[in-house]
């Protein structure tokens, strides 16, 4: 066990979770907004689609991703743009997988927060002459901030804890796709329990900090908005 053996998966996992969280914030917010406000009959089917990764085994997602990212799927065509054959076994392939896998963890809390904000503040903003964008940025988003914080924390934590999907599409390449959960699995399998303990204990501490932070934020925002 060297320092790189330990630090490389930690850095990689942090990068993966960070990039995934940022992209999901951008992608998830409009979806959450639409789900919270639309009146079409397609709302529930779309909501179900977004929530699907909560229920599906990661192996199902991993299996379909492996096919979709490969040379016979759309991923292969995209990878062809820069001369590669597949999006699997790459950092960005993992980002794609993580976005799919963590989608409900970002969308759900933001959607609930938007629904809690309701119509009145937006109608009031409109009466005062605010445009739709202005009403969103200055009224709806700040009022829904606890939903954003919860979504960000849950998405980041959930991506850090990802295992099944990465195992199936990652190829376990050090520095590219060998994330923390895989590194721990490897160490356990190889009987290198010292390294496994080291990383696992780190994850326990991380999980504890995340859960505590979420609870503290929740209370703080509860006091501010309530």
């Amino acid at each position: 066990m060297t320092l790189t053996d330990i630090s490389s998966p930690v850095v990689l996992t942090t990068a993966l979770a960070g990039v995934t969280t940022l992209l999901l914030l951008v992608l998830g917010t409009p979806i959450a907004w639409w789900l919270a406000r639309t009146r079409t009959r397609w709302r529930e089917p779309v909501a179900a689609l977004v929530a699907l990764p909560l229920v599906l085994p990661p192996t199902v997602i991993g299996f379909y991703l492996l096919i979709a990212l490969g040379p016979n799927g759309p991923g292969g065509s995209i990878a062809g743009l820069w001369g590669a054959r597949t999006l699997a076994f790459s950092f960005w392939g993992l980002v794609l997988g993580s976005i799919l896998y963590s989608l409900p963890f970002m969308v759900q809390p933001i959607r609930v927060a938007f629904e809690t904000v309701g119509e009145e503040p937006l109608e009031a903003a409109a009466t005062l002459g605010a445009g739709r964008w202005q009403a969103f940025v200055r009224v709806a988003a700040p009022l829904a901030r606890s939903g954003f914080f919860t979504g960000i924390i849950l998405t980041f934590a959930h991506t850090v804890g990802e295992f099944g999907v990465v195992l199936m599409i990652g190829g376990n390449i050090p520095g590219h796709t060998k994330v923390l959960s895989i590194a721990i699995y490897d160490y356990v399998e190889q009987g290198e329990w010292l390294a496994a303990h080291f990383l696992s204990l780190g994850m326990v501490v991380f999980a504890f900090v995340v859960v505590t932070a979420t609870m503290l934020l929740d209370r703080r925002f509860g006091r501010l908005t309530g």
């Binding site: 016979n72 699997a88 599409i169 190829g171």
Partner: protein, 252 residues
């Protein structure tokens, strides 16, 4: 949220209550931990054994390393069909295996396989190095992965090919990488690709890698299980030997 929590608790309680009944029901069965590369043959042999004796075999497939760790932590296995001859000996030494029951049930062959490339001369394809990903089972835990690395080493290609290696958690996953086309080619067990066109499979020379002796051992958990001993005897018998050689292994 509360509904969810209640149903989860209910489920856990149900599982806790159900567990003792489940073990009572399978007491006369054989629980076998089987190296992933032996999946197909083990399934056939287990079916034939069941037909012959009426005893049921529960097969758990996985990487040899993972299965051994599970065994050492009280995994409920009666027999262990390893993909190497080290872990069975370690099992005996560490007190999980029954002394004197260790034997070689099959000798594995490593092949290079690709559904798309012409591998008539596999060594040349490897040397040409015109591929982007090559699938290999984790050499640290899977004997076929270690054998693949030995073949690359013998060809003097370790350095050139290493950046293109994608590691499968076990030999089955490695085949998955290749079959889905994500890796153009890869090292798998001959037993996994028996029946494929000859041009897609290149048999690595036996001299290039240490023989993959796959050993089985009776575990302490199955010491008093007559069905487990019968299954190991069946594995040594002629009927099993025919299935094993037909599947692309040799015997000692």
């Amino acid at each position: 949220m509360r509904v969810l929590r209640r149903s989860v608790l209910g489920l856990l309680a149900a599982m806790g209550l159900a567990a003792p009944w489940a073990t009572a029901a399978v007491a006369s069965d054989v629980n076998a931990a089987v190296a992933a590369n032996f999946t197909k043959v083990a399934t056939d042999i287990a079916a034939a054994f069941e037909a012959a004796t009426g005893n049921h075999v529960n097969l758990s497939f996985g990487a040899t390393g993972a299965l051994y760790i599970q065994t050492s932590q009280g995994g409920p296995f009666d027999v262990f069909l390893s993909a190497d001859d080290k872990r069975t000996k370690t099992a005996i030494k560490d007190g999980f295996g029954v002394d004197g029951t260790d034997f070689t049930y099959a000798v594995g062959k490593v092949v290079l396989y690709s559904p798309t490339l012409d591998l008539t001369d596999g060594a040349a394809v490897l040397k040409a190095n015109g591929f982007q990903h090559i699938g290999i089972a984790d050499p640290k835990t899977a004997p076929y992965g270690a054998a693949a690395m030995a073949v690359l080493d013998r060809l003097g290609l370790t350095g050139a090919v290493s950046p293109k290696i994608v590691t499968g958690e076990n030999i089955t996953q490695t085949l998955q990488f290749i079959d889905t086309g994500n890796a153009e080619l890869g090292f798998v067990a001959l037993s996994q690709v028996v029946g494929k066109p000859a041009t897609q499979v290149w048999l690595a020379p036996q001299d290039d890698y240490p023989a993959i002796r796959q050993n089985a051992v009776l575990l302490k958990h199955g010491e008093d299980n007559a069905a487990a001993k019968a299954f190991l005897d069946y594995l040594k018998g002629d009927a099993a030997a025919a299935s094993i050689t037909a599947a692309g292994y040799t015997l000692e």
